[in-house]
């Protein structure tokens, strides 16, 4: 244990005049936390943090980063650790290795204080004492470990029932919203889908062998609190098929409180498909066939309105950020999959497996599945993963006439056939 002045940093602490300026102000300061580790941290936290602060101050002076990557993992796995080696380790030797362990949190980020304290104790003993709740990848980021201690830290964390997340060309750590643990708008059991899918394909996470990263995210409704459409290769978003539920007494109570003009301006006029109409008696009329489940009116009138009972999810495929062809949002591929019974969840997991297999077999190196779909066209992708076309997949049909349509009649026959038995098979999976 280090202790006493400067946490046993025998050569004194590095001055940090620029970082010191980030200790003022009303927002909690990460610099104050780093300094406390420097001054009071156990294990090797104090010397590591002293040199880490020294290097970070240098970055602030030079406006330049000083970390380089490398290769490092734990026994039995090929990913999940982000190696960092300092480029200026002669000056800051104690933080020359500052690796991160990506650890998968429970879905919805629930913790007991007991488990958090145990994780803290491990990280104070083997790491730097710095933890991020949570990284943009969705992981708990245990930041700052030496090469030697990485295995030891992982072993202790793993014994508590936590596992490494994804990194590199692999299945990545997923995220899900708070969902049905505390949200009445949740349309399926997000955490169940999340755990079911990720835990089924752990091999793809821990032993990276995909063309590039593959991310799942789970949101309980169209509010998409985990930003799945823009960031996930496979986005699962809650929705419902039957009518939205309206409590007319609460509608009247809302209007009595907020006024009719406010109701019209904020609720009625903001409906994207003009599916709402206010009756003369201050009750609400909903055109459920036109409603697109956007969630706006339900967000505004939480007591009066709620999703219907026939709940499930939509799946959108292919979201990603800019590198390298530009931003892509996911494309609606399964407009509705019922998610209630064991068989329903099994079906979703099987579809996920089909998509991962398609990706593994067909994507080029460093290509995300959205880019693959753009390269081969959506029809070829749908054919490969066994999904029938559906008008919900498009904003509008094609505008370009450059397409060969000599089999149009056969394709149309398939459509009419599907329409005829729609009652039996409302989902568009083959």
């Amino acid at each position: 244990m280090s202790g006493g002045n400067n946490g046993g940093n025998k050569n004194g602490v590095h001055p940090t005049p620029l970082l010191d300026e980030l200790e003022d102000g009303p927002w909690p300061s990460f610099v104050t936390g780093l300094k406390r580790l420097r001054d009071e941290g156990g294990g090797n936290c104090a010397p590591i943090m002293n040199d880490l602060l020294g290097q970070l101050e240098r970055s602030y002076e030079d406006r330049k980063g000083y970390w380089k990557g490398g290769t490092l993992s734990v026994y039995g796995y090929g990913g999940g650790v982000i190696p960092r080696f300092s480029e200026i380790s002669e000056e800051f030797p104690e933080s020359k290795e500052f690796h991160t362990l990506r650890v998968m949190p429970p879905p919805g980020y629930h913790y007991t204080t007991d488990i958090l304290r145990k994780l803290c104790d491990i990280w104070e003993e083997y790491g730097s004492g710095l933890i991020a709740f949570h990284g943009q990848s969705g992981d708990i980021m245990f930041q700052g470990c030496t090469t030697e201690n990485t295995q030891k830290a992982f072993d202790e964390i793993n014994k508590l029932g936590f596992d490494l997340g994804g990194a590199g060309p692999a299945l990545r750590t997923a995220m899900s919203c708070v969902g049905r643990a505390r949200c009445e708008q949740s349309c399926y059991d997000e955490a169940r889908a999340h755990r079911g899918i990720i835990n089924r394909f752990l091999d793809e996470m821990h032993r990276p062998s995909l063309p590039y990263k593959f991310k799942f995210k789970f949101s309980g409704c169209g509010n998409d609190c985990v930003n799945s459409i823009q960031r996930a290769d496979f986005a699962v978003i809650g929705t419902w098929r039957d009518d939205m539920k309206v409590n007319q007494d609460e509608v009247k109570a809302y209007i009595a409180k907020k006024g009719r003009k406010y109701m019209i301006d904020v609720v009625i006029s903001n409906c994207p498909t003009k599916a709402l109409s206010l009756n003369d008696d201050d009750t609400l009329e909903v055109d459920n066939k036109s409603c697109v489940r956007c969630m706006h009116c339900i967000n505004v009138m939480t007591k009066a309105l709620s999703p219907g009972d026939d709940r499930g999810a939509s799946v959108l495929i292919g979201g990603k950020r800019s590198l390298k062809v530009g931003d892509m949002m996911g494309i609606m591929v399964l407009p509705f999959i019922k998610l209630e019974t064991d068989e329903d969840f099994e079906k979703l997991e099987e579809f996920a497996e089909t998509c991962i297999e398609f990706f593994a077999d067909n994507a080029l190196e460093h290509e995300r599945i959205g880019e693959t779909i753009d390269r081969i066209g959506l029809p070829a992708f749908l054919e490969a993963v066994g999904v029938e076309v559906d008008p919900n997949m498009v904003n509008h049909p094609r505008t370009s006439c450059y397409v060969r349509t000599d089999d149009f009649d056969e394709e149309a026959a398939k459509w009419f056939e599907r329409q005829a038995k729609k009652q039996d098979q409302p989902q568009n999976m083959k």
């Binding site: 936390g33 602030y60 879905p107 204080t113 949570h134 700052g144 059991d189 835990n199 590198l323």
Partner: protein
């Protein structure tokens, strides 16, 4: 090494842990059975179950990059007021679940006393989602935690109240890969010069065909430089995106003077009202100026003030701009509209106005 002789421990491949073991008992008891919610005050949610149970959630901001002492302090508060349970939001806010209404004010007091601002709910500016930056990333153009701290210090008053037209989601990213994601306002590194190549290192460090393939505009080609196999860049073609830097660190994209910051506006995750949108360029070429990034803060402040003053209730920043038009956005924020705001990437034509709709 002695460890090498010991039999290595095989990982217990447990995967994603079961959340129920950590979940507050009242959330567990009412799982999937919630009826409605409201917000009694900023930073506090009330959820009512169909069973009649009521839980209050108190939300507070954290610095995300937390030392173990801070986490233990948050745990102490959780033990005292929230039955030893906590959860985090996707924006790194901490939440305490309590059943006893009488505990709300003492809990808020305890959090504020320890420096954790209570807020981030409803129509507020919530915590900025951020990346790693100079603290840990191998390719960062700027810091993340410092930018976020600087912005949240002046946005604090909008975190603890709900007086924006709708929620404001801000993101930061330390390179153009944009790990911070889409936001109402996105504060992102924007490189302005092509990478500087250290030709002595390329052959040993970089897989050259992979680097050539990584370039989105085919500006990189293999070349012999000073008798060594290396790469060269067509600087006229280069869009300075930095995509070649991660696979080939000798192609240094970062430079203290040419690494700049751009601010983007109008991104939206939610499907509420309008479909999700990407953020759009508002201003580029702001200096990367630690420790407070004052030029960035000034622009963020201007945008937030204009939005707050002019947007209607429930209108997100991008929806507000859709209503008033980009011309008025640039007028109201005092920002310049330049040729660089005209998209030139694939699909750019879709972003142009092909109608007679104009605003005077």
């Amino acid at each position: 090494m002695s460890e090498a002789q010991e039999k290595p421990r095989m990982p217990d491949e447990v995967g994603v842990p079961d959340h129920f073991q950590y979940m507050h008992p009242l959330l567990k008891a009412n799982h999937g059975n919630w009826a409605w919610h409201d917000r009694p005050r900023a930073g506090v949610l009330r959820h009512v179950s169909k069973s009649g149970d009521v839980v209050y959630t108190v939300r507070a901001g954290t610095q995300r990059q937390m030392d173990v002492f801070t986490i233990r302090k948050l745990c102490d508060i959780g033990d005292k007021y929230a039955d030893g349970h906590i959860r985090f939001t996707t924006r790194s806010n901490i939440e305490y679940i309590i059943a006893d209404k009488e505990k709300i004010e003492p809990l808020i007091e305890a959090l504020e006393k320890e420096g954790f601002p209570v807020g981030g709910t409803g129509a507020s500016v919530s915590m900025i989602s951020h990346t790693q930056g100079w603290l840990h990333c191998d390719i960062p153009g700027t810091d993340a935690s410092g930018v976020v701290k600087s912005m949240m210090d002046f946005l604090h008053k909008e975190f603890v109240r709900e007086r924006m037209p709708n929620r404001v989601r801000i993101t930061t990213s330390c390179c153009q890969i944009n790990c911070g994601g889409q936001g109402d306002i996105a504060i992102n590194v924007q490189y302005t010069k092509p990478p500087k190549i250290n030709h002595d290192l390329v052959a040993n460090v970089c897989e050259r065909p992979a680097v050539v393939a990584r370039c989105p505009v085919a500006a990189i080609r293999p070349a012999m430089v000073n008798g060594k196999p290396s790469l060269e860049i067509d600087e006229k073609k280069c869009v300075c995106c930095g995509a070649c830097y991660p696979p080939c660190p000798p192609m240094q994209i970062n430079n203290p003077d040419s690494t700049k910051i751009a601010i983007w506006v109008g991104g939206k995750h939610s499907n509420a009202r309008t479909k999700p949108t990407f953020h759009k360029l508002a201003v580029a070429n702001l200096p990367n100026n630690p420790p407070h990034w004052p030029e960035v803060a000034a622009v963020v402040r201007k945008i937030i003030e204009a939005y707050k003053a002019d947007a209607k209730d429930w209108e997100r920043l991008g929806e507000w701009i859709d209503r008033i038009g980009w011309k008025r956005f640039f007028e109201m924020t005092g920002l310049a509209f330049t040729k660089h705001h005209l998209d030139t990437w694939t699909g750019a034509r879709k972003n142009m106005n092909s109608s007679s709709h104009i605003r005077f």
